[in-house]
Assembly symmetry: D2
Homo-oligomer: 340 residues x 4
């Protein structure tokens, strides 16, 4: 009830402060018999950690998990899966409890809870996303293999992709340090980020999320529509400040006759710009969402020293994918209850 | 679990199909002692119904509620408040069960539940929003009077407000049939809507939501951030396809040094473009969100006959306000549990 | 969260005060395609109402329900099923707001909520059980026909059944006004109740609940064991003050070697005195529970005038069966999620 | 949803299999500012472990916890509190996967989940109660100091307490190895247990739970009555097979005129035999419950070798107290929401 759990059928409970002994998650509701190992989760964690390139911070977060429960002989037991990642390389001396950093949760947190772990944001740190990535890795083991969840940087600062890519794998995206999957754009953004880093400045961007192979019929009619669950989950990521189906803020201004075009070779009633979700329920078509990522709030000296990335977009991408996986697995379990 | 309930402390359970005998809601978790009457709710329902002007459909939905429980001698009892609105003027003969209307839930619903009430969208009809407005009206009785929740049309089609209004009341907004609170814009939009109606076409727009007077400290740190709860609630409205804090899709592309400006005369750490929510928790500053509303999917003959509005934006505005009220009341009750 | 909802997958939300306009329920989570009509529910309501015999109160509660949503052409839609029962014959003048009746909720309620509907117990009245019976009637439509839930009076005052009946249908039980299914016992209890009524006194008893035909595998391992869910549900009935698996308060004092006898012709590991639930999970054997029902707290003049039954046991029986049906249907839906 | 979480406002999520790397709990919903340390929890864990006397098993479970999150500088942060207890002394070789032990969960579990950790019961082991004790220790830090929760053995086999003790502390109870707080009874039970151990047999008993100092007004009117929450929580303990308010299975057979006696020096309307709960809500009077504990199901060789206690009653007592603490703390937090 405190808001550290997410999901209704597949429930992720996240715990841990940035500079405490560990962060982790308990996932309850995973069916029995799912193949799962620490390696699956570590592979997902590796995709969120910085340190891969010149544009990311110098901090090392070489995170490895331990599965404490719920898995036996490589398969899930139907019992809660507790996973912990121990902290290391915590420099708590860096943080002054009397400074409320602009754009951070510090002030609001202090107002709310009075007693606060000020070190590196405590619970409000980006380190909390480890729990989401753990959950996403487990969720992807539950989803059918046909489901492909791929997010990528569509725009960072003023540099945008020229065209929306048709088919992309995560490997395609990860091949670019900026996770903007176009050679020219990636190079231009890298140059810009180096410049911003030198100035102790930062920048945000827009991520696009593609989900293919989703079964039709996921999502509930009123309050747990697929689109509202995805919005809830993705907007709960600290860096995110906007979500839309496709490019809704532009396309909503089109006449209905143009907006509601049918999809060729799809069942009648399927509209192209519903982006895979009609009446809150997945249609089996590709889901497309856009996500606005605000500029990192740490600017100035700490940014110049390279202790924070000038742009969080590449690191947020696997977190967005994780939330999408958690939500789809949750809705897919829910759909088992649709009919008698 | 089926997704017909919303909220964690103040829980709205919505029920009813478009052409069934009634739609309604049960609100559980309302504290005892709150002044409440059917008139409070009817006043809210009056703001969502069409029929007020030439630009809205000819359908009459002169909805009145009956409170079945939870209120005694004009005050709440701390027990569940059941409210029903009887249906009238239902023309179920209009709907052909074998047609899956484009952009509607028809097809997805049939795939999911097999057995379907096809009449006017059934559960997936806009009539479901009555339950939300009932809930919002009750939530507003719980919130302190200082809280002012006002939404308005910022843009419809290509006509936009010239400037963001500083202070607006609901009465200011309701003075304009389009709920676009500027004389010139309202007139231009009205003209455009009449033209679209004639053509049997439709248009969407962008709503802006201002919330003033919110206490600081509302929202939970990780998954129930104020921003993610608002996104969930607002994106669960059928016509909505995007939400953002402020103008996030544009502002995210600014450098951090420009984005993260402090608020004058506010506690240190408060950033202007956090729009009232920092680290997921309300700061006491004005909350500003934008909401993309897609064009109505009914085009052609039915639209020409005026049986559907060419633009749903004015009618969605009180529903957005209702969801915001429900969420803030919920988070406010939650905040009673913050400290020992 | 206020405790007016019950269940996790099949969720019953109950509403209504004794002397308000209506009591009712919303059932969410019922799969689509279940055959259901108002007649099914009315038949269940008929079994809980008094007025069938000389030993019950003179009050008429000829309750009929209206289904407001969730059912179309005789089958459920997968949407919330709202059901209301209008009040009639309410004599609110009978109740003095300044008297706190002994053994009733009056005092505790006033302490808790301050503002109180004192008429006939308000929300704390036995009339609230209508919602449970509605829920139970729906739950029984979801359960497989093999499941037989039958409760009966095992003992009232000092008169007890001579032997535990082997096979009983509800019709067998309903053939006796006391619902104690043995001619001699029924007659002796009837005589006793007439005597108590004359004296303005009351009496309690012990109900036994048999559930046959339950699939194995229902119930969760730790906190949602079949036995704890049944205890929660049954103990939430106002008149109930004790529950046990079989005759646990006596049999627990046996040596383990005698207690843990295997069941003949059952899978190895099945114990007779586990009464159908092992490790919290149903085994497929008959579930047997006993339920202690306390004496009605209304004694003296009102009891003498026959406005309250001298013994509530016969009327509680269908409520116990309803709670069992709700719980089993809930656990059965949950079990759809057990395996990948 | 899988049934590994308990509570609505203070939520305990339990995890861990008997022979896995660790068992533990995440407690979410604890307010900020509560004094808490690993020592508080370890002291509670010490009360549940065997090895204190000749009547308990030879197994050593010298359990110490580690707090991974939610506590900073000795006080809670309002964030989830994750606590783990590492396993040691696991003799998994003892268990044969092909044997379904009578009275255990083995068979039902295998039927349900197919894939099973058979070692020592896996998730269905008594070791799971560590999570409950962790939760109870935290709950007791939240409850006012006035609340005293004390359980004791009222009867084991045929040996019962002569009189119900008036005032008892946990120290009073813990002074007796059997936790039956009367010198003669304790000695007689000890002798009996040694005899049973020699024979490889076991025995159950009846525990009585006293709760003093509870504020009035806790518990919700319908489904979350104090009595039903306590029944749910206590019946979810593996060894428990019955619960009652006071001695309900006997007292229910009394005439109402005798049953419903007023309490001297208490507010009007308070009944003695309501045992502290009226209409589901605490009255401020002492709560008294009885709990039936079935005989340990392990008999024969393993019991003779002293690897299991012949009687689980003394060890279950702190688990019952823990569940009561969790429930009262949960209901107390809920009561913050009663009034506007």
């Amino acid at each position: 009830m405190r808001g550290n759990s997410f999901g209704n059928f597949l429930v992720l409970t996240s715990f841990g402060e940035s500079h405490g002994p560990a962060v982790g998650a308990v996932i309850d509701g995973c069916p029995a018999g799912v193949a799962l190992s620490a390696e699956h989760i570590d592979a997902a964690l590796a995709r969120r950690r910085p340190g891969q390139s010149i544009i990311t911070s110098g901090r090392r977060e070489d995170d490895h998990c331990e599965i404490l429960s719920g898995v036996y002989e490589g398969r899930t037991l139907g019992t809660p899966i507790a996973v912990v990642v121990r902290s290391r390389d915590a420099r708590s001396g860096d943080y002054d409890p009397n400074v409320f950093r602009i754009g951070h949760a510090d002030r609001a947190w202090e107002d709310k809870f009075v007693h606060r772990d000020h070190r590196g944001g405590g619970r409000a740190s980006g380190r909390e996303t480890i729990a989401r990535v753990i959950g996403g890795a487990i969720a992807e083991r539950i989803l059918p293999e046909s489901v492909k969840i791929v997010a990528f940087a569509r725009q960072i600062g003023h540099v945008a992709l020229k065209a929306t890519p048709k088919e992309l794998t995560r490997a395609d995206v990860d091949a670019f340090p900026t996770r903007c999957p176009e050679r020219m754009a990636d190079a231009a953004i890298t140059e810009e980020l180096l410049r911003l880093k030198e100035q102790g400045d930062s920048i945000g961007g827009i991520v696009e999320l593609h989900i293919d192979g989703v079964p039709s019929g996921l999502g509930e009619p009123v309050f747990r529509k697929a689109k509202s669950r995805l919005s809830d989950g993705i907007m709960s990521i600290g860096a995110v400040s906007g979500v839309s189906l496709g490019d809704a803020f532009t396309e909503s201004l089109l006449p209905g006759s143009e907006f509601h075009r049918p999809v060729a070779n799809a069942p009648s009633g399927t509209a192209e710009r519903s982006y895979g979700i009609q009446g809150g329920i997945t249609s089996g078509q590709r889901i497309i969402m856009r996500v606005a990522i605000k500029p990192v709030s740490t600017t100035g000296t700490m940014a110049r020293e390279g202790r924070h990335d000038p742009c969080i977009v590449p690191r947020v991408i696997p977190v967005i994918e994780s939330m999408a996986a958690l939500i789809l697995a949750d809705l897919q379990l829910a759909a088992r209850l649709d009919n008698i």
